[in-house]
């Protein structure tokens, strides 16, 4: 047997030498192989070397790039500064657009909640006088803006349209001395007229001394007068001074709208039938209950109300 093997050693070795890889190919093409234990031993030896060489090469290249190939660095630096300046400008513009987008989205949400048909306008100017606090918007008659239309934001009442041109309109804000908005306290349903007082605070007038009003109470529009839709926030009671005598009390109101950051407003061009119906129903209920006491409206509001009533059915 051994003699036979020795005699044909070359042929047997050659046969095995060719057979082993062929069998390997055959089995490998049938099923993909995984690492076997002896493969893992080889990898255990070679993998750290591969990692070490790669690390060395990487750091060599990095070293060359960082410390030797610096010929164009100054030129690149200037170019990058210029590019950075441009990008910062673009970034600021984009951030501004993002903020504007957020504000407009809020306005749209507010409009859909209150079922109002509105026109969005941008504030383009403020009153030159420090005593009067009107604003000018970039929408006018061509956009369907008419006198005495309500101007609001998603935060609450801004004011009403005082006068219009073809392209612009002046808005009397609730802070203005000419402003008068018929409002009710949301909690106690006490009624009064919100008039402008200072740059930050309004006053609630014609409030009966016995009415339940406390700081923190929210004031909303009553819907009377036909200018403002019912239920729009006007402001929050910041101070209520009930004197021991007299028929009224002094109430200060901080407007819901932050006028220092006012950029976009909505002009209510049409109030929906649903809102009108609610107003009518609530007005009827109040009249039946006899709980509400209609205060004496100021001149401007009274005139508006009269006009509306004359036009109404």
């Amino acid at each position: 047997m051994f003699k036979y093997l020795r005699e044909y050693r070359f042929s047997i070795t050659l046969f095995l030498l060719l057979l082993i890889p062929v069998i390997s190919i055959d089995t490998a093409t049938r099923a993909p192989r995984d690492y076997r234990p002896h493969d893992r031993v080889v990898l255990f030896v070679t993998a750290p070397i591969q990692a070490a060489i790669s690390w060395t090469l990487e750091h060599l290249v990095m070293g060359f790039e960082n410390y030797i190939f610096l010929w164009n660095t100054q030129r690149d630096h200037h170019r990058m500064i210029e590019e950075n300046r441009k990008l910062l400008g673009k970034f600021a513009a984009l951030r501004e657009m993002q903020q504007e987008n957020i504000r407009l989205r809020k306005l749209l949400d507010f409009t859909s909640t209150h079922q109002l048909k509105t026109v969005i306008a941008r504030v383009i100017a403020k009153d030159v006088s420090s005593e009067f606090r009107a604003i000018r918007i970039n929408r006018g008659e061509s956009s369907g803006i008419r006198k005495n239309m309500a101007v609001i934001t998603n935060e609450g009442v801004v004011g009403r349209v005082l006068r219009t041109t073809r392209k612009t309109a002046d808005v009397v804000t609730v802070l203005d001395l000419l402003s008068a908005v018929d409002s009710i306290v949301e909690r106690s349903r006490a009624r009064g007229i919100v008039e402008g007082m200072t740059d930050e605070v309004c006053q609630l007038k014609f409030v009966i001394r016995t009415d339940d009003i406390e700081p923190g109470d929210l004031l909303i529009t009553s819907g009377l007068g036909g200018i403002f839709p019912k239920g729009i926030p006007v402001g929050t009671v910041s101070r209520a001074n009930r004197k021991a005598y007299g028929i009224s009390q002094e109430v200060e109101v901080r407007p819901s709208v932050d006028f220092s950051r006012l950029e976009e407003v909505m002009i209510v061009t049409e109030q929906s039938a649903a809102v009108d119906a609610i107003e009518a129903t609530e007005g009827l209920n109040e009249a039946e209950a006899g709980t509400s006491v209609e205060p004496a409206a100021p001149e401007s509001e009274t005139k508006d109300s009269k006009k509306t009533r004359e036009k109404g059915p």
């Binding site: 030498l17 890889p21 062929v22 190919i25 192989r33 070679t46 993998a47 591969q50 060489i53």
Partner: protein, 191 residues
């Protein structure tokens, strides 16, 4: 005793060297530019075995080298080994048929072996229906890879010779020792 031990360790050390060289080859020549001139260290080792080892020993070592190469490759198992077997047979045949004296002639074998290896590789891929447009790439790299393998082979063969001398595997060293021993025996007899 030391000589015997070193001779025994020659093959395992050669396997280890091949494993290390594969690791270097696969990590040092990974960039696209260097991969164009990537030498095949396994191929050089296989040719060395074909030229300087017995057929059985060379066959076993070639199978092991092929296995090491395949561990570091995603090619189907056996293809690389079969290509290396082909190169081994070529180098052994050239040793039988041609007069190969010195490193320069070995380099020519390495050059031919590299070309043959590529040809076998393409042929096997074709037979296994794994080839698509691979042949263009392989042919493009045929000459640079062959030249690189031959160039590195010239240097590596020199160090492999030294390695064989150091581990008492080289026939030249063994002959020299036997000559020394023979002379020593003659001297003893004369004394």
């Amino acid at each position: 005793m030391n000589r015997l031990l070193l001779r025994t360790l020659n093959a395992p050390l050669l396997i280890l060297l091949v494993a290390l060289s594969v690791a270097i080859q696969s990590s040092l020549f990974q960039s696209e530019l260097l991969s164009m001139v990537q030498p095949d260290f396994v191929l050089i080792a296989v040719i060395w075995c074909g030229l300087r080892r017995s057929f059985t020993e060379a066959a076993i070592l070639t199978l092991i080298f092929g296995e090491i190469a395949e561990i570091h490759s995603s090619s189907p198992q056996g293809i690389l080994t079969l290509c290396y077997v082909g190169v081994l047979l070529l180098s052994m045949a050239s040793l039988k048929l041609l007069v190969l004296k010195g490193r320069r002639s070995w380099v020519l074998v390495a050059l031919a072996g590299s070309v043959l290896w590529k040809g076998l590789f393409l042929g096997l891929l074709y037979l296994l229906d794994l080839i698509d447009n691979q042949w263009r790439h392989t042919l493009l790299l045929l000459v640079p890879a062959a030249l690189s393998t031959a160039g590195f082979g010239y240097v590596i063969f020199r160090y492999l010779e030294k390695f064989d001398d150091w581990s008492w595997k080289s026939e030249r060293v063994r002959n020299a020792i036997e000559g020394d021993l023979l002379l020593a025996d003659i001297d003893d007899e004369e004394d």
